[in-house]
């Protein structure tokens, strides 16, 4: 049986500081969300990260995950967005 993956793209943008990745990854681990890919750069002091994660096994609704990531972002002063992968896939792949 092929498991349908529920892939989500998480983007984190903001001023660089200690512990951004740790904070986000801790949340993902606590919620059983598997990280498939990470890329991260710093441009002129600005932290820019993109993660592709699989939330199939997460115990929470997608809405709630978006909300909670947004709150974590507010706490550490960065913008965290979680979007279903399909919007990027449809737009950039035929």
């Amino acid at each position: 049986m092929v498991l349908v993956m529920n892939r989500t793209v998480i983007t984190v943008v903001g001023k660089d500081k200690v512990g951004i990745i740790a904070k986000v990854c801790t949340y993902l681990a606590e919620n059983n969300i598997n990280i498939l890919d990470i890329s991260q750069t710093i441009v002129q002091g600005f932290f820019n990260m993109m993660m592709i994660v699989d939330a199939t096994e997460a115990p929470k609704e997608f809405d709630q995950i978006i909300e909670e990531l947004d709150q974590i972002g507010s706490q550490i002063g960065v913008r965290i967005r979680a979007q279903h992968e399909d919007i990027f896939d449809k737009m950039h792949r035929i």
Partner: protein, 454 residues
């Protein structure tokens, strides 16, 4: 796998270039509500709409969160009310009760507009068609969310000039009744030639009789995205220009297609079409006129505007049809005046006139849209403007429309404020010469020779 640049590009479109899904429109057939008893008819209409559309707004919001793309409007279109009310309505007041029911149902489910207070009279009017048309001024005055449209012509049937004449009066009456609100009623009334059955955009949306019980149609948007993309190819030749528009249109439409399919799945309502129209808003950077400027015109309306618009419209379609298997509705660049900051500026600079706008409608949908004219314009003159626009649609086998607003008590040089997505507009001058004798002839204009294809 998706890479970072692609993610950044998409999110830049959404956050900085006003990419959004303009509307998810749920079409609902009311044919099964027909009843000779008016009270029972109203009851059935209310119950049908509020049950079929009860999850529309929450579904839209859910999709918005899932993909991180704004879905600006959730709307409803219904079967033309002239058909639904034919058995029960014996006066204009009877029809107005249905308008009020639609308004109440729209409020209940939380949609900002409901379209379909409509009549299809491309050859002639039935008694109930005429009653509905005569009830439009009161209906639009006494409701907030109801939108009305009348199809007065088609390539197959010609133009019903009796209806065209009547609508000149109706538009003025609507303006008169809503004059304390800058004639807002007229912003919710569209006169069509070749009206499509599956248009998701207001004010002209209705659920055509060729449609099923219910359907999801989606209108995308993104003039800002096209403009931004064109900034990177300044000075390049037409091939490069066209290629850029086409690729951008593809990306925009794919988002619409995704949202439409998702909404269809979540609501268990079949997916109908994606409408490719580039729909501007009064927001800065969300303007079709600015695309024309980016293509190389000082203002929309300058010589070259019709050619630039033709090219833009064609490339948007070529990119769009590749992105969605079911393209429909109006699918063209919209050129409303009050809803597009660049158009407003072009009018104020003296670059854009009604006559030039009319020429532009020959190469794009949809027509003379959201144009404010002096309140003392004669009814026959308005009918003349409608007849011209309908003729363009009829001969070119395309949809054309007129949404014109005579603002009572205002004249050229004044401005009118509609607010929200409807924007604001300078009053535009109208040709003052008479067409009374032409409009007063009565009857209909025959279908053009190229409609006989059998």
């Amino acid at each position: 796998m998706i890479n970072m640049n692609e993610v950044i590009e998409t999110n830049k479109m959404i956050q900085q270039e006003n990419l959004d899904v303009r509307t998810i429109t749920l079409g609902i057939s009311l044919l099964d509500c027909i009843d000779p008893d008016l009270a029972r008819l109203n009851q059935k209409v209310y119950e049908k709409i509020t049950s079929v559309a009860k999850d529309l707004v929450s579904t839209g919001n859910k999709i918005q969160r899932k993909y991180g793309i704004p879905i600006v409007n959730k709307r409803i279109s219904v079967t033309p009310i002239a058909l639904i009310g034919a058995a029960a309505c014996h006066s204009t007041e009877d029809f107005v009760t249905i308008a009020k029911t639609l308004d109440k149902a729209a409020k209940e489910v939380g949609v900002n507009f409901i379209g379909g207070y409509s009549a299809l009279v491309s050859k002639a009017m039935t008694t109930s068609d005429e009653l509905l048309i005569r009830s439009i001024p009161s209906a639009l005055d006494q409701t907030e969310r109801v939108c009305s449209s009348v199809n007065v012509g088609s390539t197959k049937t010609g133009i019903d000039m009796n209806a065209v004449k009547l609508l000149g009066d109706i538009i003025l009456q609507t303006a008169q009744l809503t004059k304390d609100r800058d004639a807002i009623g007229c912003a919710k009334l569209v006169v069509f030639c070749n009206a499509p059955d599956d248009n998701p955009f207001m004010a002209g949306a209705f659920h055509g009789v060729s449609e099923g019980d219910a359907v999801i149609n989606v209108g995308v948007s993104g003039p800002g995205v096209v403009k931004k993309a064109l900034e990177s190819v300044r000075g390049e030749d037409f091939e490069t220009l066209c290629e850029t528009i086409k690729k951008t249109a593809f990306k925009i439409t794919r988002v619409g297609q995704l949202v439409a399919q998702e909404a269809s799945k979540m609501m268990k309502v079949p997916f109908g079409i994606v409408d490719l129209s580039l729909a501007p808003t009064p927001a800065i950077g969300d303007s079709v006129a600015e695309i024309l400027e980016e293509i190389g015109l000082e203002y929309a309306g300058a010589p070259g505007t019709t050619a630039a618009l033709a090219l833009l419209n064609d490339q948007v379609k070529k990119g769009g049809v590749m992105a969605s298997s079911y393209v429909g509705g109006l699918s063209g660049a919209f050129i409303p005046v009050s809803e597009d900051q660049g158009m407003i500026q072009a009018v104020e600079a003296g670059a854009l006139t009604i006559e030039k706008l009319e020429a532009m409608t020959c190469v794009c949908s949809v027509g003379l849209d959201m144009i404010a004219i002096p309140g003392d314009t004669k009814a026959t003159t308005i009918s003349g403007i409608i007849a011209d626009e309908m003729a363009i649609g009829m001969v070119n086998q395309k949809t054309t429309a007129v949404r014109i607003i005579p603002v009572i008590g205002k004249s050229v040089g004044d401005r009118v404020e509609f607010g929200g997505l409807l924007g604001h507009a300078p009053i535009m001058p109208v040709n003052r010469f008479s067409c009374d004798a032409f409009i007063n002839r009565g009857g209909r204009i025959p279908a053009p020779i190229h409609s006989f294809k059998n």
